[in-house]
């Protein structure tokens, strides 16, 4: 619920003041078109352009890439992205459309790319001018990611790529893709390599993007087919056969456990949509009539809402504690829980919201009588995207059990 006031360093305090002043003047008004719940459901060019314009403005104001060096288009500051994020959230800004670029591609390119590549790619990534997508999962490689079969064959100083990627969010708008593929079929993990690939210029010329439809009825993610696509060797990150290690950098950041804080504004939601938080549940329970009284008076509903309040506060307190070395026994123990907690808490919050709504939870987007515009059932369905993507909750629990608690590896 309420954010606790936490003390800033002098640099952070000054930066926060600047950010706040800029946001007071420049936070955009209501969007001209209806916005999706998250960047992963951007369906139209109108939605994209509105959000890209916002990202560009925020980047130009120094609110994105704050902790990256100036040479690669960053702000050259220390621990200021978190401050920018807090201020953008507080100002109720729209979200940043280039989520995969900011959260996954940027840290990966930064840690594993050649200097020239970083300088060329990162500024347009931060500004949102280039949208990025991620080519990891395949029909036969989900939780068992190292089973990736998309293959790159060497041809002179180029590579020829063939294969099939799935669940590729934002591919329909993406200029670039981070791509995990195989360069050696004789070994599993050590046969993987990692590329950045310009896919937009290759549409219809070796790259096909086909939309997949989610259980909510929305599009936003895709399958991507590579047929004899030629890619230069200079687009390779790190050494041949090191793809798995590079992918770990990507996944660590995707799961909120990396050392570079991902730029965020507006959280997972826009302000025009509702926010999936316990605070919203309480507001909903005040407005919803249940058993002849407001739902906020029902002791069971109250208990369930407070459980969510406590879990959310606990997650925030975890993040705070993860910065206090003396209060941790294992350096990755808290960081590796982020993705699991965030996705499962959001899922339960949406489920409780539907319980509060009762029969009215049956009403979907096109029904004028739907509470909150029918967005809670949609949020609930979408929440499974988060407990499945980026390593399912089951995979997350394996990782925690094995890496933190030292239990034997489950196959």
């Amino acid at each position: 619920m309420a954010e606790q006031g936490v003390k800033d360093t002098p640099e952070q305090a000054q930066f926060r003041q600047q950010a706040r002043a800029w946001l007071a003047e420049n936070t955009p008004g209501e969007p001209p078109v209806r916005m999706p719940l998250t960047p992963l459901e951007i369906m139209t060019e109108d939605q994209l352009h509105y959000l890209q314009a916002w990202q560009k403005a925020a980047y130009d104001a120094g609110l994105i890439g704050c902790d990256y060096p100036v040479e690669v288009g960053g702000g050259g500051r220390a621990n200021c992205q978190r401050i920018a994020n807090e201020e953008m959230m507080a100002a109720g800004t729209p979200f940043l459309p280039n989520v995969i670029g900011l959260g996954m591609a940027a840290p990966t390119v930064f840690y594993h790319g050649q200097e020239e590549l970083k300088r060329r790619l990162l500024p347009r990534l931060f500004s949102g001018e280039d949208i990025w997508c991620q080519g990891f999962s395949e029909p036969g490689a989900g939780s068992d990611l190292a089973n990736v079969q998309t293959f790159a064959e060497r041809k002179g100083d180029k590579w020829v790529i063939n294969g099939h990627k799935v669940w590729t969010s934002l591919a329909h708008f993406a200029e670039w893709m981070i791509l995990l593929l195989r360069t050696d079929k004789s070994v599993k993990h050590d046969g993987l390599s990692y590329f950045v690939v310009p896919i937009r210029p290759a549409l219809g010329k070796g790259v096909t993007v086909r939309p997949l439809i989610k259980m909510t009825g929305e599009t936003g993610f895709n399958e991507v087919i590579f047929e004899d696509l030629e890619v230069e060797d200079s687009y390779r990150l790190d050494e041949l056969g090191k793809g798995w290690q590079v992918a770990m950098t990507t996944l660590l950041h995707e799961r909120g456990a990396g050392d570079l804080v991902t730029p965020r504004s507006g959280g997972m939601q826009t302000r025009s949509a509702h926010i999936t938080s316990a605070r919203t549940l309480v507001a909903l329970s005040r407005q919803t009539w249940r058993n002849g009284a407001p739902a906020c008076e029902d002791p069971i509903i109250r208990d369930r809402m407070m459980q969510q309040v406590i879990r959310e506060e606990g997650m925030a307190a975890n993040q705070r504690r993860s910065r206090v070395t003396a209060l941790q026994d294992h350096p990755m123990r808290l960081a590796l829980q982020n993705k699991l907690l965030m996705s499962e808490i959001a899922q339960d919050t949406a489920a409780i919201a539907m319980e509060i709504e009762g029969a009215a939870a049956s009403l979907y987007l096109a029904d004028d009588a739907a509470p909150a515009g029918g967005q809670w059932p949609m949020s609930y369905m979408n929440s499974f995207g988060f407990t499945i993507a980026a390593g399912t909750s089951e995979v997350q629990r394996n990782i925690l059990g094995e890496r933190v608690l030292g239990m034997a590896k489950s196959k």
Partner: protein
């Protein structure tokens, strides 16, 4: 008032926590605990007060009992975050001693104003104390006390008194002419009868205490205010105790499932074992973070202290229940025996889980603060 990002958990607090962990790991293993308290498995055994007074005296000499006494009364006046770190370690060892009770009494006395100063000075001088604030239903709101005070004399019986057999003094809530008041007296005062309860938990002692005209010093005439001001600190510390005990349960159970083989694999290989233990860890971490969150609020943002202490207690109580059930279950047959140490912590956790309101109770209070009082 802003809170420090690190909860105010500074070098001094880190040193105290680390030295406590070292002291317990060197001098008080679970095996030592078992030998000390689990000599007699008979469920009909008479209640006994079993503890290591010599080791406890070392802790008193280290100044642990006066950490929460303000400097003006001769104490250390340590912030609650630091005290919570110590209590977490004491909980990890399940060390039987009146540390929690004495710290709790200190917070109530400090909230009692000028009248509490002499009693605080007693604690600074080495006194230890138990709280006599609950009635026969386990309720501790001053208004419902089952002890009455007339002038300087106490009458009636107080219940669920923790560590009664290990302390020198009692802090009593009794109804007086002007409403519930707080009294302070040595436990060996004439007219005081300590009757030990036969409890499940072997690591604590608990009693009901009868007063028959016992002479006591009145320290405060508004017990209800002092109690409600001090309870967030007390809840936070009991939650810290559960977190420490939970860490022991997790570590011990993980070690067991890593070593025990079935179907030619260590038990931890199987996800039916691995995943619940990860869930225990996740719950411990939530509770632990919320403990330091609450402690920092008590130290730096007192208007939010009750809210965050309810969160810490609710989280720690649920965790204690789950960690306890999984620690026995994952140990299999051996976990169900008296000789395996896990039952000691299982019993301690179940005791603490209920003591100052269980998770549902704390969430109900939290709902009052966040829903009813915050339109």
């Amino acid at each position: 008032m802003a809170q420090p990002d690190d909860f105010g958990f500074g070098e001094e607090a880190a040193l105290l926590k680390e030295s406590a962990r070292k002291l317990f790991s060197e001098h008080f293993s679970a095996g030592t605990l078992h030998a000390l308290v689990a000599g007699d498995p008979d469920p009909n055994r008479a209640p006994q007060v079993q503890w290591d007074m010599e080791l406890w005296q070392q802790m008193v000499d280290l100044g642990w009992t006066l950490l929460a006494v303000p400097e003006a009364q001769g104490g250390v006046g340590m912030p609650l975050v630091g005290v919570a770190g110590l209590v977490e370690e004491a909980g990890r060892a399940a060390f039987p001693c009146p540390l929690l009770s004495t710290l709790s009494a200190s917070y109530i006395l400090a909230a009692a104003g000028a009248g509490g100063e002499a009693a605080l000075a007693d604690i600074a001088g080495g006194a230890t104390a138990a709280l006599v604030i609950s009635n026969e239903h386990g309720s501790w709101t001053g208004a419902e006390t089952s002890v009455s005070g007339e002038g300087d004399s106490l009458q009636g019986t107080g219940y669920f008194v923790q560590d009664a057999g290990k302390v020198s003094h009692l802090l009593v809530c009794a109804s007086a002419e002007s409403g519930p008041a707080l009294y302070w007296l040595p436990v060996d005062t004439d007219g005081v009868t300590v009757a030990q309860d036969a409890i499940v938990d072997l690591t604590r002692d608990q009693a009901h205490i009868s007063f028959d005209g016992a002479a006591a010093r009145r320290v405060c005439t508004d017990a209800a205010s002092a109690l409600s001001e001090a309870m967030p600190a007390i809840w936070t510390l009991y939650a810290a105790d559960m977190v420490g005990a939970g860490e022991w349960q997790l570590q011990t159970t993980v070690e067991y499932v890593n070593q025990r083989q079935q179907f030619d694999k260590p038990l931890g290989f199987f996800q039916a074992v691995k995943h619940p233990l990860v869930n225990v860890m996740v719950m411990i971490d939530q509770a632990k973070s919320l403990v330091y969150n609450a402690a920092c609020a008590v130290d730096c943002e007192v208007e939010k202290a009750a809210r965050y202490a309810h969160m810490a207690q609710a989280s720690a109580s649920d965790m204690a229940a789950f960690a306890s059930s999984r620690s026995v279950q994952m140990h299999g047959g051996i976990g169900f025996t008296w000789e395996c140490y896990v039952h000691l912590f299982f019993k301690r956790q179940k005791h603490t889980e209920m003591l100052w309101g269980d998770a549902v109770w704390h969430r109900a209070r939290l709902a009052e603060l966040l829903i009813d009082n915050a339109a």
